[in-house]
Symmetry: C2
Subunit: 294 residues, 2 copies
């Protein structure tokens, strides 16, 4: 039990619960106990918290430990038909960037994929699906400096966090960010009897914005927003393989840790338009359509 | 007929085809001829263009004419159940910003909501739905400096543009950006026999990024991506009315011209998580959850 205003330091293992280690092979990876995925740190009870309050979670500091992993898992992921074989990639993290997937330079903005309070219902729950309580939101703006507000649904709020990501793109398309253990320092405040319908974030300015405007953008329109997003992601994978020489699966991983995915328009019925973009700052310069004489 | 490498200046009327003028009332607005919506400028034939080529459209310059409008139209828009009454708002545009919806300061990044080549099929088409040919994409990154690539689907390509927006948010949630006449200067290049599955954009760095990271973010998760986006948009409207004093409909218009809408995760089955955000640079500073003693 902590009190409002208290600062708590969380030592979070990686999403596998410490089963994945640097150098592990894909063959070993497929044998891990998936029932231990999303090993969380918590719950922490906040004194005086009651249903109907708002829990404020100030994200004071998050640091990685120099390594991380990303995988492709059969039957999971946004392009699961295209990528159906198991794959495991190891990242070396050096301060604010990783060059493990050269020539890409991926900026690191460590955050917890899962931060949440106990759900309102009684029972046991899998951690995969996020909700009003927060949980597996995978919102990459939850980095150090930002503040998360959650509705309190139970006495004590019962906050947990984990699923550390050193970086993640919008969508988390391959099912992983850069999965890693994290040291996380949070300060908790309580706002009594404030209505809040779901997670709300006050995002801090980051030194390296996720969405610098100079970018390569693939645009897809479809009656189904997710189908448009899926085709846009698949075309971005093609673009990375064709022009930057990534293998298919490395391109997919790069999208999962660095791509932006925006709903450009949602009103031009019956079509929804989705833009998948990669910042030019992540990739070496290329002239994809050179002009004559160049 | 123009040749590859030629520069063309388009004088584009606003999306209403010149029917909406500054000072028009909502009562007059509902009587306009909606069959003239999306009056486009074009088509321009490019010599030598054939199906299977790629048309490159360099957006050299776009300028507004100091005024624009946004509306709510019964039966249209992302929150059509909540906003079902007709409404018309007039904007005064002063260089790079508009303060017409004070206290918001909305950055202007003029672009054409519609840029496209003739579709592959024969026939007459409404302009509302975008597609492989481009068209009503409403992708707000198509500002001056950016380059749009489109697959050529007919002899001559037959390029048209229009639906000028001085600014627009992701989603264009109220069905309008800041609708306005635009002067548009484009240069066309042809890339023979290059495969392209749909619109592709090389986005230039903008002086005022749309998605500066310091922001207010509403997070919603749902099995249906659009339902999550709709609830997030509706909560953002509530936030603007509660904390910044906007009327409901003005908050909706502000979301339509300035909000970001991201697919934060698309893999945590069965839930999709959508983030609706407004840059802090657009709004006066507020402490939404003050701490005791402040």
């Amino acid at each position: 039990m902590i009190g409002p205003g208290d600062t708590v330091h969380f030592e979070c293992v990686d999403a596998s619960g410490g089963q994945v280690v640097p150098g592990m092979s894909a063959a070993e990876f497929v044998t891990i106990d998936r029932g231990r995925i999303h090993a969380l740190t918590g719950p922490v009870a906040i004194a005086g918290a009651e249903a109907g309050d708002v829990l404020e979670v100030q994200i004071l500091d998050i640091s990685h430990k120099g390594w991380g992993w990303s995988s492709v898992i059969e039957g999971l992921g946004f392009l699961k038909e295209r990528f159906s074989y198991p794959y495991l990639f190891h990242w070396t993290l050096d301060g604010a960037f990783t060059r493990s997937l050269a020539p890409a330079v991926v900026p690191l903005r460590p955050f917890c994929g899962v931060m949440g309070v106990a759900p309102a219902d009684d029972g046991e729950f899998r951690t995969r699906a996020p909700g009003v309580f927060g949980g597996n939101l995978d919102v990459r703006e939850l980095y150090a400096g930002s503040t998360l507000y959650l509705p309190v649904l139970n006495k004590g709020a019962l906050f947990s966090c984990g699923d550390g990501h050193a970086a993640q793109g919008d969508g988390e398309v391959c099912i992983n960010g850069i999965e890693c253990p994290l040291d996380v320092t949070l300060r908790f405040h309580l706002h009594k009897a404030r209505a809040l319908d779901g997670p709300f974030i006050e995002v801090a300015q980051h030194a390296i914005p996720a969405d610098q405007s100079a970018a390569w953008v693939v645009v897809e329109s479809d009656r189904d927003a997710l189908q448009a997003a899926r085709r846009a992601t698949s075309r971005m994978v093609d673009l990375l393989t064709e022009h930057w020489g990534f293998s298919d699966v490395h391109a997919y991983l790069l999208c999962s840790v660095a791509m932006n995915l925006r709903l450009s328009q949602v009103v031009n019925e019956p079509m929804i338009t989705v833009s998948a973009s990669l910042s030019k700052h992540i990739l070496p310069e290329r002239q994809l359509y050179p002009h004559a004489g160049q």
